[in-house]
Symmetry: C2
Subunit: 211 residues, 2 copies
DNA sequence: CGAATTTTGTAACGCCCGGCACAGATATGG
DNA sequence: CCATATCTGTGCCGGGCGTTACAAAATTCG
């Protein structure tokens, strides 16, 4: 263990609490005093640990990705890309409408700063979103190469379509749309999915993924 | 004409300039000093005319709706709902990616405050968005009644789907997605559209709608 | 013209923002 | 047990925020 007085709070817990504030109020709407109160620490502790507000926010984003990792893994582990699309959109529907925790409906990567006084914030968020798009795109490209999708499908557009619908659903959820309504939208969106060249995937029961 | 010294600026022009600031920086990210500079007036004039920052913002939103009115009229004037969906999504693609004016890509109704310290702002924006959804939904319901769509289609979900894709495309545009890429997403999204019970509508050349 | 009315520019208000200095507290290592 | 290192709580800082007081300027009405 490192010398000196030990830290008096759990970093992960503090980040989770900060996440809720950013999620609800956005980057600029979240004041340092709100954050410190929610995190249960004083500002010097916060600055010593995260540098400044933007540093804290970036740490929150990494924490967010970490908490969403299991979901994305579940999505890309689907047996075919049709099932992947289904898992993704219905999973996002569940996630976005989830109000069982402390976080508001929607998605941190949109809510916390689509636009902002400091340009680096929207940029950072866009990067995190693009990362997910690339995961989907990679799987779609592989499926196309394997012949699972016809050669005239464009993996980039397909991945972008999924992300677009996902982002749209998150916006809807933030405006009060229910999980049931979002699943109906997801079902509609999946009708645009190209048929697999092999057998068509059957609709299966969806597993709900937490946070 | 009313007595007293006449106003020294054009309200519509001032609102257009304020719109750009809100669009680019969001509601909280737009400072009063930035706004007054962009509008070319001093703060007392602003406060006398619009009350306060939120009053200005609401006036900007009304101005925005007014400027988008012709587009929505064009959309709902389509001969059938399939064409309406096409006009809507491709029109939004053009609009969201448009950078010819001073406004950034995307949509004011999303950019300016998905989340915010003051809750009334996201609520107000959601109301404005819901208004557009209702216009589409009304047309879809009418089409279903006329037998243009089969009875097992749900107009509410269909309208929500269009708005969802539209919102998603605006998010994408704000992150740098090009018009061409957005049109590809729109084409994909339209594949989910239910077939009309009558003849299928042909793909027609799309008219670009300005701002 | 003079009274009334409205907008204008200058200048400032109080408040809360993000951030930090400092000293006391609590650990490790010799 | 002292030197060193790190974290914690108190208190405060300059600055920019949204907002407004005030008086001069510019119009209409009688």
């Amino acid at each position: 263990m490192r010398a000196g007085r030990p830290r008096g709070f759990c970093v992960e817990d503090a980040l989770d609490r900060a996440m809720t504030v950013f999620w609800r109020n956005g980057y600029e709407g979240a004041s340092m005093s709100e954050l410190t109160v929610a995190m249960g620490i004083n500002s010097p502790s916060l600055y010593a640990c995260f540098g400044n507000k933007e540093g804290l926010f970036r740490a929150v984003l990494e924490r967010y990705d970490e908490r969403r990792k299991s979901f994305m893994e579940y999505v890309v582990a689907a047996s075919d890309v049709g099932q992947m699309a289904e898992r993704f959109l219905h999973g996002v529907a569940d996630f976005a409408a989830d109000t069982s925790g402390k976080n508001p409906p929607g998605c941190l990567l949109l809510q916390s700063g689509l636009s902002c006084g400091e340009e680096s914030i929207p940029d950072e968020l866009a990067r995190h979103r693009a990362e997910k798009e690339m995961m989907l795109r990679g799987k779609i490209e592989a499926a196309r190469k394997k012949g699972e999708l016809s050669k005239d499908t464009d993996p980039a557009s397909l991945a972008r379509y999924l992300i677009t619908v996902s982002n749209g659903m998150c916006v809807q959820a933030a405006s009060g749309t229910t999980a049931k309504e979002l699943h109906a939208v997801a079902d509609l969106a999946l009708k645009a999915w190209p048929a697999t060249t092999a057998k068509l995937s059957k609709k299966k029961s969806r597993a709900a993924i937490s946070v």
